[in-house]
Symmetry: C3
Subunit: 360 residues, 3 copies
Amino acid sequence: MSKTNPGNFFEDFQVGQVIEHATPRTVTEGDRAAYGSLYPTRFAIPSSAEFAASVGLKVSALRGPVVVEEHPVEELIAFHIAFGKTVPDISLNAVANLGYAECRFHQPVVPGDTLSTTSEVIGLKQNSNGKSGVVYVRSTATNQRGEVAIDWARWVMVHKRDQTAEAPETVIPELDAVVDPKNLIVPKGLDFSSYDFTAAGEPHRLADYEVGEKIDHVDGVTLTESEHQQATRLWQNTAKVHFNAEARPDGRNLVYGGHIISLARALSFNGLANAQLVAAINAGAHTSPAFAGDTVYAWSEVLDRAELEPGKNGAPGIGALRLRLVATKGRDESMTLRGEDGKYAPGVLLDLDYWSLIPA
Amino acid sequence: MSKTNPGNFFEDFQVGQVIEHATPRTVTEGDRAAYGSLYPTRFAIPSSAEFAASVGLKVSALRGPVVVEEHPVEELIAFHIAFGKTVPDISLNAVANLGYAECRFHQPVVPGDTLSTTSEVIGLKQNSNGKSGVVYVRSTATNQRGEVAIDWARWVMVHKRDQTAEAPETVIPELDAVVDPKNLIVPKGLDFSSYDFTAAGEPHRLADYEVGEKIDHVDGVTLTESEHQQATRLWQNTAKVHFNAEARPDGRNLVYGGHIISLARALSFNGLANAQLVAAINAGAHTSPAFAGDTVYAWSEVLDRAELEPGKNGAPGIGALRLRLVATKGRDESMTLRGEDGKYAPGVLLDLDYWSLIPA
Amino acid sequence: MSKTNPGNFFEDFQVGQVIEHATPRTVTEGDRAAYGSLYPTRFAIPSSAEFAASVGLKVSALRGPVVVEEHPVEELIAFHIAFGKTVPDISLNAVANLGYAECRFHQPVVPGDTLSTTSEVIGLKQNSNGKSGVVYVRSTATNQRGEVAIDWARWVMVHKRDQTAEAPETVIPELDAVVDPKNLIVPKGLDFSSYDFTAAGEPHRLADYEVGEKIDHVDGVTLTESEHQQATRLWQNTAKVHFNAEARPDGRNLVYGGHIISLARALSFNGLANAQLVAAINAGAHTSPAFAGDTVYAWSEVLDRAELEPGKNGAPGIGALRLRLVATKGRDESMTLRGEDGKYAPGVLLDLDYWSLIPA
């Protein structure tokens, strides 16, 4: 019998099935630097241990026999690592990554934390063509203390191994379109009451953003062949199409969708420098493939603003800003999401809906 | 007199000569991350401090006045660094790297360790053309405590500076074709008796591998120009052909052979996830050059299995698996090493014979 | 009002104006590894914690509640980070970076240090065309203790937003052509009296270098598209021309001048391995643009030698060597800086004048 992992096919999944993914992965300061070399990120909390300390986010951690203090890495580093673990079991035979929902960041991840991911199958729906089906999973990344770091739902279209295999009972999970702001988790100790706007790079706070406002983040980055592959490897994501030019008929390496998320988030610093933390991802769609040579731009739309609840998730000086983050191939100064036909405009690569934490 | 290093030529070497190589190099967590961005590695011990701890490999180390606990980096990080040091003195004027033998990993290398390398010339043989000769060296990498981390023999063909220089007495060292398994060194404290196969990614243990069995590792990686150069620089390897397109008549940068070793080893995770540690390299040949644009695949052949000796190098739950690791340009599902003429099959890039430690 | 940063234009600057730049940035071991993957550096102090300790440069630092010992990163890592901070405010709308002067490194920067940069406008001169002007700033990078890490002057030509805006009073600061060696700052504790020349890689000390001597560093590196972008991002340098192929009419990404400085400095190891520390940059000019595909070489000219003053900046076994570091596109074995017309020779990319500290 072959010793290599063929990945799961649609008929290998059952609702209720729990999969513990290999391999646990320790986050390091090396990841922070690698991330910084791959994306033009400048958010002050992950950039500066001192800034993080000034907002209560220098976290004490045990390293062997001593207590050290570490500051958080970008939430997306943790997300990509946690997500990468699921690929060999969930999406190695995927046709497409269809969506995300209910992704919450439960606590900051710091260098030295080790992440493991488990997924539960929460829904299945065979496609009418009988060749594939949609698998819904809820994945949970835990740290070395067994605490939840991130959880999220996603659904992917997966090939069937055997097209004659019987269709499972259709189960479609109910997933919230948006994480209710009262369920957002504010990191323990976070305090924006003495927030240094000068050090952070911009003066804008929650009240300065109007619902419906759009922000053109101006800057663009031309993708090279190397960076996206380095990133995707760093997250131990094994999807063949990203690395192996022979795996696609066109001989091109498809850029990992998460690479575009990180790139767009980094570009959004210019106009959203104070949207410091990603608290939740409400929804996400990779609407078009990206390749080396494409120049990626980003724009954001303010979808909502929320006060957090004192005595529940409220914390000093902190509010929540719901944003649509759109990545485009080529700059679209008109910031058009969809054409008149209701379909995504041609250059749109990513439509991501998330909650950030920002000085109130 | 020129202040730059012209490297040694064949007639500069004498049997018994000892060369202390510059520059010592401290391994860091940054190297682990860089390695992870360059190779698709997922072996659980270097990936996870928690997994390493669970098999006895979280090593206490002094960092200034405090004791910290670190977990090992991949053996090949240490090997490439140790090897890189030898290049300016041994192989700057090499025509070809001919072989390796008797390479043993004496102890895990952890971030904070500083490696220095010394080489002794153990053999010389001038080629009949009078233009070059073979230099045999035994190199030893030691850490900051003066303990041996790795040692190995290699032989390289080196240009003569002056073709009229007299040939030295021919000395050809006796080198073992295979490291005797009773001489393999098991890291202190290593214990696979509570090994977590789920976390590690595969269920296979020593007894599941049959001598003669071949494993197609399935996945491929297309080389880009940037990654191999970044890797080779990281190891402070100064061989011109890797970085300088003007150094070769064809204007192409030759990929460092060690890059192919690391790539193939990382690809071998898919089928050999539990071949956790590299204990020894018995032999290695770079059989064909690799360049950016090549898509590299790997397959392995089980050459031997060995129990370790209780009371000597035996340790709980640990066995040794001898593997041939073959890297190919383009996938060869037939896994053919040599053609009928006895020569390496056209796509073969690497033929590496090594011992790994695996749950027994 | 737009929330994105348009950068400052010429008429936005006033002499005496002080700008605190975002975002503070913590240096990590990851930066050291990234730097090592991007430049072929082998200087012993940043390469080896043990070598650094042997010359008195293992620095005690507070990390949360414990004292750890760290060794310095390359001065240029600190410089690029500190410099990158100034770009969004000073040179986002720059036509050209015209020069540097009076750059001094006040103390080694170690992992864990957080750098912030402040600039003061010290001069202004509108160009006669009325379309742009020269802005002179003195920038100061401080660490988390508020101590100066680096300071330097530079002047850049910046576009006017409004060509009809009135010209400011011309103020041209007096800047020293060369940092007086008695003002060089020797790191506290530095002691070269037991310097290990073998470990460092070369036998040459201060007295071995003659004023006027030129050293061809021999080795070349062919630039790829990816490395220079990774480097420049790592320093959080946001100048569009480096990343965005659509930002220039020719569709090519301009290589950050600092990338060429680091590359040339790393290449200079071969012949200047003991010019261990950069103490000051006297002047620097990026004389020609560089692009992916160019093969970069370096040569140096000895401009001066200086003994340091006992009781002032003197320290055991340490002298100062003033060097001109020249990067060229293509190797120029004649090491010609300027043609007969007094202009820089065609292949010259960089002309950097600096003081290094070297065993006396």
